[in-house]
């Protein structure tokens, strides 16, 4: 089961996560430009969106489901925020609320399809993905929506509250939001009824039902919380790009799920942790950043990334096998 992110046991796990450490060391040796504050901040920032989406996926996967719609849901929420803020001219807090509420509603709908209609999660969320992708284009008129009239929107992801306190650590808010989401999700999974039930559903749904759990209700809840987190991702990406780009989003689900699995969460359900997912997401960003810094050509970047992801997971399997 999962643990709080910063308990000693988890810290050991963090340190022990050989893959990430080895990667960082290798890149630091290979290029002087890698291990610099600026670049590390860039890596953190580059992890924000994928990290948040991956956390959403973690919840759903732990409960024995899957959510293919996370990328398109993120976009859809961004577009909805754009409509609320730019087209309707509502105040910022309403825009934020809209994104999160819309995410929760769409996630909940996926959950309902899975729980009530018994549509397999893969299909329910694939359908949702396509529906949302189409709707994002429809409601935006296939055009980006800009947030030029909403002062402060850009600041959500791009400013750095931390820099005011610690000028040496200009970590942008998007990263703080990622960590905040991670801590809350981790708390949810390990310390609350919600989390226990998510694990129970993922481990043996029928046993959970026969233990008196209201399986359907909790399933919907899991997908809805995942959806709300996608809404946060939507805010992050919209704020980072200062626009809602309706065409973007598909393909992000694969990266998110990959981060989850690299982080040691089982696709079968019942096992996983937010910390692992976070590490998985960082492995992916570090890899992309490092290879680009080394000016490796694109095709080799792709090929090498494939090999290293397998290796990183294999090293982790070896490490855990020793426990």
């Amino acid at each position: 089961m999962t643990r709080l992110p910063f308990s000693p046991a988890a810290l050991q796990r963090l340190l022990a996560f050989a893959g990430l450490v080895v990667l960082m060391v290798v890149f630091s040796i290979a290029s002087d430009n890698f291990l610099q504050t600026d670049n590390l901040v860039s890596i953190l920032q580059a992890t924000a969106v994928n990290g948040v989406l991956a956390i959403a996926c973690t919840l759903v996967i732990v409960s024995g489901g899957i959510d293919l719609s996370v990328g398109c849901l993120m976009t859809f929420c961004a577009v909805v925020t754009g409509v609320v803020l730019t087209n309707w001219g509502m105040p910022l807090p309403l825009g934020i609320l809209a994104a999160i509420a819309c995410g929760a509603a769409c996630g909940g709908l996926s959950g309902w399809l899975v729980a009530q209609l018994r549509v397999p999660p893969f299909i329910a969320t694939l359908g949702m993905m396509m529906l949302l992708k189409g709707l994002a284009l429809v409601i935006s008129g296939s055009k980006p929506i800009y947030f030029l009239d909403t002062p402060g929107f850009e600041a959500i992801a791009q400013d750095s509250l931390l820099a005011n306190v610690l000028p040496a650590l200009p970590i942008p808010n998007s990263v703080l939001i990622l960590f905040a989401v991670a801590i809350v999700a981790s708390w949810l999974l390990s310390q609350t009824l919600f989390g226990r039930y998510a694990f129970a559903l993922g481990s043996n749904e029928e046993a959970a039902r026969l233990s008196g759990l209201q399986v359907k209700r909790w399933k919907v809840a899991v997908y809805a919380v995942g959806g709300a987190i996608c809404g946060i991702a939507g805010l992050l990406i919209a704020s980072r790009l200062n626009s809602a780009q309706p065409a973007l989003g598909q393909g992000y689900e694969l990266d998110a799920i990959a981060a989850v699995v690299i982080g040691g969460t089982s696709l079968v359900g019942g096992r996983g942790s937010v910390l692992g997912t976070l590490i998985g997401a960082f492995i992916m960003s570090v890899l992309a950043n490092g290879l680009r810094i080394l000016n490796v050509t694109q095709e080799w970047q792709t090929a090498v990334t494939g090999v290293i992801i397998v290796l990183a997971v294999y090293v982790d399997i070896l490490r855990r096998g020793k426990d």
């Binding site: 430009n33 670049n39 296939s142 980006p144 800009y146 694109q298």
Partner: protein, 291 residues
């Protein structure tokens, strides 16, 4: 009343703003000439076979004429032959086909356009230094031609300018931002960056801002609100624009003319333009830019 003439346009994509602009041009022409058009393209510019399925689907609707922006210069030929045999006039747009079947091709010369970008960029950095390219697609025609046009021109005319790396962000704003940031990080002496389409160019602008490397010269391609704003604010030195609305319009127009039996020029050059702070509001330029 429904127009009776139906002309499907099979494009290379539909989500990019560029294609939306082509679509709007086509729709404008459809209104003017009282014909019916549809516009569709595959998810990504790699999906050659999906485009062929679309083309086949379009032919099944027994259109009066058909227009295609081919993802591969050869792969569509068997179907175009079928269209030809059925006496359906074919117009190519954006990218041509290695065949005589299209009566006309309405397109931008992407190599030349990118070469112009190279000239402008070289001038802006004083003819020497390191530059890099953020491309939108490694294998699509426009992606290849723009990179080649740009790189070859620099090689040929500006020996002191060195292209240190070409990397691709898929035209995705966010991915292009991350790609450009890494390039800036890995190449501290970089003087300029070229983004080969809207998403790539915006990514470069974002990266330069986030990395606070305002000394780096940015040259873009295509338009869109953010690119226009970046040019107005000086974050981007300038960009090449094609005439996407014109491409769409002229394509439908050519199809209509073909149906009337009028002669068509084989190549319809829809043109490309350099725009920067100085001519942003020039009506001729403003007309080809889209938001």
């Amino acid at each position: 009343q429904q127009p009776t003439v139906y002309i499907p346009l099979i494009s290379k994509g539909f989500q990019h703003q560029f294609w939306q602009a082509v679509k709007s041009g086509a729709e404008q022409a459809a209104k003017d000439y009282k014909v019916r058009v549809t516009f569709e393209g595959p998810e990504s510019e790699a999906m050659v076979d999906k485009q062929i399925d679309m083309l086949a689907g379009a032919l099944a609707k027994k259109p009066q004429a058909i227009a295609i922006a081919a993802l591969d210069s050869k792969a569509t030929i068997p179907l175009l032959r079928k269209a030809h045999a059925a006496k359906i006039p074919v117009i190519a747009f954006d990218s041509g086909v290695d065949s005589d079947i299209p009566l006309a091709t309405a397109s931008t010369d992407n190599r030349a356009a990118a070469a112009l970008a190279a000239d402008k960029l070289a001038a802006l950095i004083g003819g020497e230094g390191e530059v890099a390219v953020v491309g939108h697609d490694q294998t699509s025609r426009t992606g290849i031609e723009r990179v080649e046009g740009f790189v070859n021109r620099l090689k040929a005319a500006y020996p002191k300018v060195r292209v240190v790396t070409v990397q691709y962000g898929g035209g995705d704003h966010l991915k292009s931002t991350e790609v450009a940031k890494s390039i800036l990080q890995g190449n501290p002496k970089l003087k300029a960056l070229f983004g080969t389409n809207e998403g790539s160019a915006i990514g470069v602008v974002n990266a330069v801002r986030e990395m606070k490397r305002s000394g780096v010269v940015v040259v873009g391609f295509d338009s869109g609100k953010q690119q226009k704003d970046a040019i107005a604010s000086g974050a981007m030195a300038g960009a090449i624009t094609q005439n996407p609305v014109g491409i769409g319009y002229r394509t439908v127009e050519a199809a209509v003319k073909a149906l009337k039996g009028e002669a068509l020029p084989k190549a319809i050059d829809t043109g490309y333009y350099w725009y920067d702070k100085t001519n942003l509001r020039d009506p001729k330029i403003a007309a080809v830019l889209y938001d």
